[in-house]
């Protein structure tokens, strides 16, 4: 018994299998969904009648904030990525994700970050200023609790998780598709995920930079957001540059699911799928140039306001195409109204209402009245709950038989839909009519006349919330006693339906192949429905049904969870430390936890890198447009792409405060040009030595390799030495008092860069240790090459920082 338990525990804690991780994501997201939902129902109770006192204003503000943060970051995306984890490798015929252990690590970072967010309730007060975290209210002066530190820590951790998994998915989808599966032939769900990870890759680094600056302001008393020059506007811009794409990030995967589920149940192909894909891409691109619509009232002037009105209205066009295509799909169909179909069709209907009301808010003139009211709350719930959550629940019913091998109870599921749909509209439609009521208010007086509509909404909230019990009960029971579902209960065409339900641990025995004539070959052994026609086309080039080049190993690794746990401990140590009083800077982190985190982290890093966990790359796969690039290298390049955005935002923030400041110290007065020059030379030389290291390795010259690596390490050390000297002399000269903003931007930007240098030096030490053992000189120098890419990037960043801080 105990043995069995430990085996089960080990499987789930150490798993790196994409299907297991997918299940973990889905269950965890549902857990956070319930938690955030309970917060929401409590808020609805508070608002049901005027002058209610179920919640104090302090607690209400925490609830509204954590509800929003949890739903957006810990429910919507992870729910969708649970499906992506489980289904996409099956749909593209990949063995697993490109980096299975990284995938496990993403999950554990996600789980621990959520725990941290909820922990914030127990350290003074949870974040209480809305999920938008407007500055300067985040300044220590106005939010002196540790809870907000924890919230910032949780956000940093989840951004790390999201970045890891978007790199992972990107490499997988570009490099590991089954032969013949051209991008254009993918169905809509994988397409929506592909577009989503691109948005994630460009939006989240901006958010990371923003939260980092926010945290440093709080911890060390710096001035990015607490100054007038930075302050509200800087946060607004950086946050919404991320924030609007984020709105689509949480929506697109659900749209993808909807666009795959409806054709399956309608028994007709998606109408105009080319145009639907094109629309997704177009909307994703436009989403990066509409953020100004969140600042219509901040006073940017009439030209800017009109410009953003136009871009925002324009972004609704691709969605029109998508909606019309979905509806057109139903024409001359044979529509089976199973629960999954009901939920996805319902999602389309609610999404239409959400979209139409979005056009109201895009109009700057109407926004002057509607900004910050319940009209907005209604609008985004129609999109996020009506479109996303309903769509995702449709996906849950759709894939539940595949994942568990059992059928759920159809009539209970249909009742679940009807009650949810009615409850939803009773809950949110009245909020459109409350277009005068400010959002995020803890209470209101009776003479506002808002009582009846609020009461209605609350009743709807409990109907909607209660309906979800049907979902959980149905799935919980059916997973145990439901009738066997068979491999393809819905008669779907995508590849996951070719496998038994649930699929075996290693997925396909042989790689599926897409033929030129549109047939798909699955090789042997698969649960194709009897008599279904089974491709007759000619294989294009390679042989059909060959083996994967690696049979999936046991795939258990303890290191991902340990690594995530050490990061959790580390951030806990940093964030529950005593926050700085604004002046003087007296930050006291909680050292014991930090030390634990660092030690654990080093151990798991060592374990991770020494573990034999080879993921061979299949050569016979579809990998346009990156045919020549190995997986790891593509991974590094995408990671560096995200880093570019990250530093871009840091440098942008510097420019922002600098141009907003009436005065700035002239070059040479604060930061010594000679220091900067010396550091530049040192770093550039270290790039040379890194190149020499690679050249030596290529030439098989062990001594040359070791000497060049030592040189790189030494030069990195020298750089840090000069930097540290400069930091200390500046720090002790009281520069924060004389030049608060120049000092803030200098310390933060060069600090972050310094951390990158330290990380690079750690890698060098690791490389050195291996080089001493004779590695890398026998053609196995790929790791060196990857390190080189990173190191050159760090140097290039400095080449930008040097003139910015020292010369101009």
């Amino acid at each position: 018994m105990a043995e069995r338990f430990s085996a089960v525990a080990k499987r789930w804690l150490y798993t790196t299998n994409h299907k297991d991780i997918g299940i973990l994501y889905i269950i965890t997201a549902l857990f956070f969904f319930v938690a955030a939902g309970l917060l929401a129902l409590t808020m609805r109770t508070q608002l049901s009648i005027p002058n209610n006192n179920v919640l104090t204003a302090e607690v209400y503000n925490q609830f509204v904030t954590v509800h929003g943060l949890l739903m957006i970051f810990w429910v919507l995306s992870p729910f969708a990525f649970g499906f992506a984890n489980y289904i996409i490798p099956l749909q593209i015929g990949a063995r697993d994700l490109a980096f299975p252990r990284l995938n496990a690590m993403s999950y554990w970072f996600y789980l621990f970050s959520g725990v941290m967010m909820i922990l914030s309730f127990f350290f003074g007060a949870a974040p209480d200023l809305g999920w938008t975290l407007y500055s300067p209210q985040t300044a220590f002066e106005f939010a002196p609790t540790i809870g907000l530190n924890l919230g910032a820590g949780a956000l940093i951790l989840i951004v790390v998780s999201i970045t890891m998994s978007s790199v992972n998915f990107l490499v997988t989808m570009f490099k590991m598709r089954a032969p013949g599966l051209k991008l254009r032939r993918m169905s809509l769900f994988p397409w929506s995920i592909l577009v989503t990870i691109f948005m994630m890759l460009y939006a989240f680094p901006s958010f990371l930079a923003a939260v980092l600056l926010l945290y440093v302001d709080r911890a060390f008393g710096t001035f990015y957001f607490s100054s007038i020059q930075g302050g509200s506007l800087l946060w607004d811009n950086v946050f919404w540059f991320f924030g609007h794409p984020e709105v689509y990030i949480v929506l697109f995967p659900a749209l993808g699911i909807i666009a795959d589920v409806i054709p399956t149940f309608a028994r007709r192909p998606l109408y105009g799928s080319k145009y639907v894909i094109g629309s997704l891409v177009a909307a994703a691109l436009i989403s990066f140039v509409v953020w100004g619509h969140h600042m219509f009232l901040t006073g940017y002037g009439v030209i800017t306001d009109k410009l953003y009105t136009v871009t925002t209205v324009a972004v609704s066009l691709p969605f029109d195409v998508i909606v019309i295509s979905l509806i057109e799909t139903l024409a001359v169909a044979k529509l089976r109204l199973k629960a999954a179909a009901l939920f996805t069709l319902g999602a389309v209907a609610l999404f239409i209402i959400g979209g139409i009301t979005g056009v109201y808010l895009a109009s700057v003139a109407l926004d002057y009245a509607l900004r910050g009211t319940y009209f907005v709350v209604a609008h985004f719930h129609y999109i996020m709950v009506g479109g996303s959550i309903m769509g995702l629940i449709g996906g849950l019913y759709y894939w539940f038989p595949k994942i568990t091998g059992r059928m759920y109870n159809e009539s209970m599921a249909r009742i679940h839909f009807i009650v949810s749909f009615i409850g939803f509209n009773v809950l949110y439609f009245p909020m459109f009519l409350l277009l005068d009521m400010p959002r995020r208010i803890a209470t209101y007086s009776p003479d506002t006349g808002w009582g009846l509509l609020n009461l209605t909404a609350t009743v709807g909230g409990f109907i909607f919330g209660g309906a979800q019990l049907l979902l959980f009960y149905n799935l919980y029971r059916s997973a145990r006693v439901g009738p066997p579902a068979g491999p393809n209960p819905w008669n779907g065409w995508t590849l996951e339906w070719a496998l038994p339900s649930p699929p075996p641990a290693h997925d396909f025995d042989t790689i599926p192949t897409f033929m030129d004539d549109g047939t798909i070959h699955f090789g042997s052994s698969i649960g194709l429905p009897n008599g279904s026609s089974h491709g007759i086309g000619e294989p294009n080039g390679s042989s059909v049904g060959h083996e994967y080049s690696s049979i999936h190993s046991e795939g258990l690794s303890p290191w991902p969870i340990l690594m995530a746990f050490s990061a959790f401990i580390f951030f806990l140590g940093i964030t529950i430390g005593k926050p700085a009083s604004p002046q003087p800077v007296t930050y006291q982190p909680f050292w014991p936890l930090i030390a634990d985190g660092v030690i654990l982290g080093l151990i798991s890093l060592l374990g991770y890198s020494r573990e034999k966990f080879n993921v061979h790359e299949d050569t016979n796969v579809e990998s346009w447009p990156f045919k020549q690039v190995p997986n790891m290298k593509l991974g590094i390049w995408t990671f560096l792409g995200a880093e570019v955005i990250f530093f871009g935002v840091l440098i942008g923030a510097y420019f922002f405060v600098r141009t907003a400041s009436p005065t700035w110290p002239t070059p040479g007065t604060v930061f010594d040009i000679r220091n900067g020059f010396a550091m530049t030379l040192v770093l550039l030389t270290s790039s040379m030595t890194a190149i020499m290291a690679l050249a030596s390795a290529r030439a098989g010259n062990k001594n040359g390799l070791i000497i060049s690596l030592l040189g790189t390490l030494g030069l990195g050390g020298l750089f840090l030495y000069i930097k540290a000297g400069e930091w200390f002399s500046l720090g002790s000269s009281g520069v924060f008092n004389t030049y608060p903003l120049p000092a803030t931007s200098y310390f933060i930007t060069t600090g972050v860069h310094g951390v990158h240098v330290v990380a690079g030096m750690c890698m060098t030490v690791y490389l050195l240790a291996n080089a001493l053992k004779g590695k890398y000189i026998k053609g196995d120098h790929a790791t060196l090459e990857h390190f080189g890419l990173y190191w050159h990037f760090v140097d290039i960043v400095w080449v930008f920082l040097f003139p910015l801080f020292y010369l101009i």
Partner: protein, 234 residues
Amino acid sequence: MAISNMQVQFDNLFWLFTYLAIAVSVVVFGLMVIFIIKYRDRSGSSEPHDAPILGHLPVARGHARTAILTVSLSTIILTVLIIGSFGSIDTILSSPAPCNIQISHSVTYNCSVLVTGHRFYWDFNYAGFPNRTITGAPSCQQAICIFAVPQSEDIRLNVTSADVFHNFGVIAFKVKADAYPGHVNFIWFNAETIGNYTIQCYELCGPGHATMIATIDVMPLGQFVSWFNSTIVQ
């Protein structure tokens, strides 16, 4: 009823949007419902010829002309809405000329007010009289708490904040402006009907946000002049 010029303008625009929204909804939902009812699976309905099946890529379906038609029709509707919005925003963001109210033989007033958000109240300074601060605090009970403006004049507000991000909104007038430190936002309105109207904060600013309420009192010109004389000028 006309309460303020901005409210009249808002109502017109809002209904323009809503009529078009209803028209679009009728078409789209109508189509959807008709399709769902007409093409639902009934006993005897036959499998469509292009039904997707496992082992085959689904056949391509759909015409470019549908996408083009959708985009064109939407563009027409949206253009109407954009033009309407641009007209309104030009009014909202214009700056009317100062008024010139003769308070007494030596004192005139130009209808400009500086509004400052604090946690958790507003204060009001009439231009030219910075030393007479009116606090619209919820608990404020004395005469000086009334924020009065004259009827049918273009009132120009400069809105800012002394601490965090607030948003100043007069509910019935449909005017609103972000109030944040280091920046002054300009809005204006013309109140047409005498009475008391509620001012509320529209950006979460802390525990007192929900009760960050003040009142604006629209007076006939004569009454305003005497009120101004007695409370502001002194």
